[in-house]
Symmetry: C2
Subunit: 413 residues, 2 copies
């Protein structure tokens, strides 16, 4: 495998230099052609996807997973339409971030440029292939896509459609699909310092941990979400229950859903009665001693608090005050998203300032941590690290900068 | 060593939460006290430094290195004054980077926050200890300083002065000095995912490479500088020679000095004659065939082009056009700083746009790649990587961001 992969990475790196000079109009033309091609070649894509689905079923993969893998006419149309939205977004490349005029008359301009070659290691959903390719093209980046084995036929078909659509418009190899035999083959990508500028893993905690611990190229860590909702003593009960319901139940499988609700002791009686009614039978609870007086469930342990369920399961803990809630979040949070429900604005500010998670909410659901909901128009993932970018990764987060310095003979004293 | 270091890192991490809530006034008070303390405890610092100097001489270390290690009354005063300048700089923490108002009336504010715990692995110059500590305090970051063994007495004395000065004002352990026995002990720092948010190596290529290849925490790579100067056929000869002189000879030991001059064939005769006169006897040349007709020197090899001399040595190559110059730079540059001298503005833009180095200059010396010269007031190093920050790392580059989202009960549809 090594030789094949290294040759592909080398070609991707070569595409990089041409790619950085592609103008906005050409990028738009290429994206439009990909969008059109997805419509035109729908049957080819569906047939390829059917092979993946069949294999998945043979392998006894869960219905939920099969659903993530499945492409339909509607889903392909949605992908094609999303590309048209990406075309509409502002092009960040070439924009001036800062301009500095120095006393010696040097003019320093900080300019947005592409990152270069971006490696994406992902699983399951084949629409990621098209999403990432279009966002990378929009930002003049070359992408090296390493999808999951379970989606290989779909990804091959999609990348073929993309490559055919952009042939002669964008540099060859600016969208590259890597196929691996075993997980260890990923190492060739995530350790290819000479060819890859950054790796972004998207998928299960297992995949992300593997990439973070084995990569030697820079990584943008995404996704793991043990998110918290704190119901303050000065919360509106209806708002608190609505937000709890939305953040836990609307779509529990995603990273911005909550795993634990922390409740101020003074409002526990009112809130937990209301919660019991709203959540009735829909959620399995793990509870502390006080909460056990209202909700049926096993005793919550440290292990429960440290688990991302991605499921209809919720920990409930009653705390004596906001500081105990903050302590709990510091101990168990993956620093993704946390929310407070309170009518006390000062207390809410204290909560939001004390925590250093990527997104902190006052009186709103954690489910809004999303590129689309933030108005970025698209999203590569949710960064939970401190370097480079935090929270939803939009187009701007797919860029780097350089300084252009204009003089007329200045030398340093 | 492991237990001692891990305990220190743990304490640093604990300091981090208190540190993030320290207000601007308190930070200024602490910095002022450090500045004062450096004046007051000058003798203690000079005595400690004398021990390092003595040991260095016993070990037969070069005069240049001993000079880097040496502290004098004047140098300590300069350090103390630099802190007063840091106090004057704008405090980036808490500032609003973006504010987004969404159609659903969510208000999203992106806020600058500290990175957390910053590990600095550096060598030699003890003034780095004070520089970094003051920049980290200014940005509410905790710093873990791992200086070189050759400066251990100086660093111990400086950190003691700092810690005494800020005791009772800033959290304990917010400035921590790590002492290691062997280079491998650095691994405890650069692999401490639970305690360190980012590592910045400063020093020799050997040190930087060691950190990059052994770190599992995120690294900001700094420093390596194989920089280029291209003299276009439409260059002003005097300006070209002045910039060449400044970029090569003014201070050859620093990373923003050039190693190679590329000359357009049509101006080679005029420029190389002038260069010969200006550089007479001051620089050892490695030359290509055309340049050898003007300058004495050995034949330049690929190895020469790939070497950061940090010395009075210069490669000279005559190229047929700007594209050959760009090709050369792509092949050998460490993507730090490159410059073109030309009266043709369009050609200069082409040069600056084609290269993706951190800093690209038109008609100015590469020696300006420096936080002070950029107006940042201070500098942690020069980043040559694409992620997080490029070029001079000022206060802003020592920060991360988080999103604060304000709602009134919004839930996601």
């Amino acid at each position: 495998m090594e030789n094949v992969i290294m040759e592909q990475l080398k070609q991707a790196k070569e595409a990089c230099r041409q790619m950085q000079n592609i103008d906005c109009e050409t990028k738009e033309k290429a994206l439009k052609r990909i969008s059109d091609a997805l419509f035109h070649h729908m049957n080819v894509i569906l047939e390829a996807n059917a092979q993946d689905i069949e294999k998945a079923k043979d392998n006894g993969i869960s219905d939920a997973m099969v659903d993530r893998l499945r492409l339909t006419k509607e889903r392909i149309e949605a992908m094609a339409k999303d590309i048209l939205k990406v075309i509409q977004l502002d092009d960040p490349i070439g924009s001036v971030v800062r301009e500095i005029h120095r006393p010696n008359n040097l003019i320093i301009k900080q300019i947005r440029i592409p990152i270069g070659v971006i490696g994406i290691i992902y699983e399951s959903r084949p629409n990621v292939t098209v999403d990432i390719a279009s966002l990378c093209i929009k930002t003049n980046n070359v992408c090296v896509l390493k999808g999951g084995k379970e989606a290989i036929h779909s990804n091959r078909a999609l990348v073929q459609v993309i490559q055919d659509a952009i042939a002669g418009i964008l540099p060859d190899h600016c969208v590259t699909l890597i196929e691996t035999v075993e997980r260890k083959d990923i190492d060739y990508v995530i350790q290819a310092h000479d060819y890859i500028d950054v790796v972004i893993p998207r998928g299960s905690a297992g995949l992300i941990n593997y990439v973070v611990s084995h990569a030697t190229v820079p990584v943008i860590e995404t996704g793991a979400g043990i998110c918290h909702l704190y119901i303050d003593q000065f919360a509106d009960i209806k708002m608190a229950v609505d937000i709890a319901y939305n953040a836990k139940i609307q779509r529990p499988s995603v990273c911005n859903a909550i795993e634990t609700i922390l409740v101020h002791q003074n409002i526990a009686d009112l809130f937990l009665r209301a919660l019991k009614e709203a959540f009735a039978g829909k959620v399995k609870f793990y509870v502390d001693e006080t909460a056990s007086q209202y909700l049926e469930g096993e005793s919550a342990t440290a292990k429960n608090y440290a688990t991302e369920y991605d499921d209809y399961i919720c920990n409930i803990r009653v705390v004596k005050d906001i500081d105990e809630a903050i302590e709990h979040i510091y101990q168990y949070s993956t620093k993704h998203s946390e929310a407070i429900v309170s009518k006390d604005y000062e207390l809410a500010e204290y909560f939001m300032n004390s925590l250093d998670s990527a997104c902190v909410y006052h009186n709103a659901s954690t489910r809004f941590t999303d590129g689309g909901e933030f108005g970025f128009g698209a999203e590569v993932g949710i960064s939970t690290q401190k370097l480079h970018a935090r929270g939803p990764l939009g187009l701007q987060e797919m860029t780097s900068t350089k300084y252009k310095i204009y003089g007329h003979g200045q030398i340093r004293k």
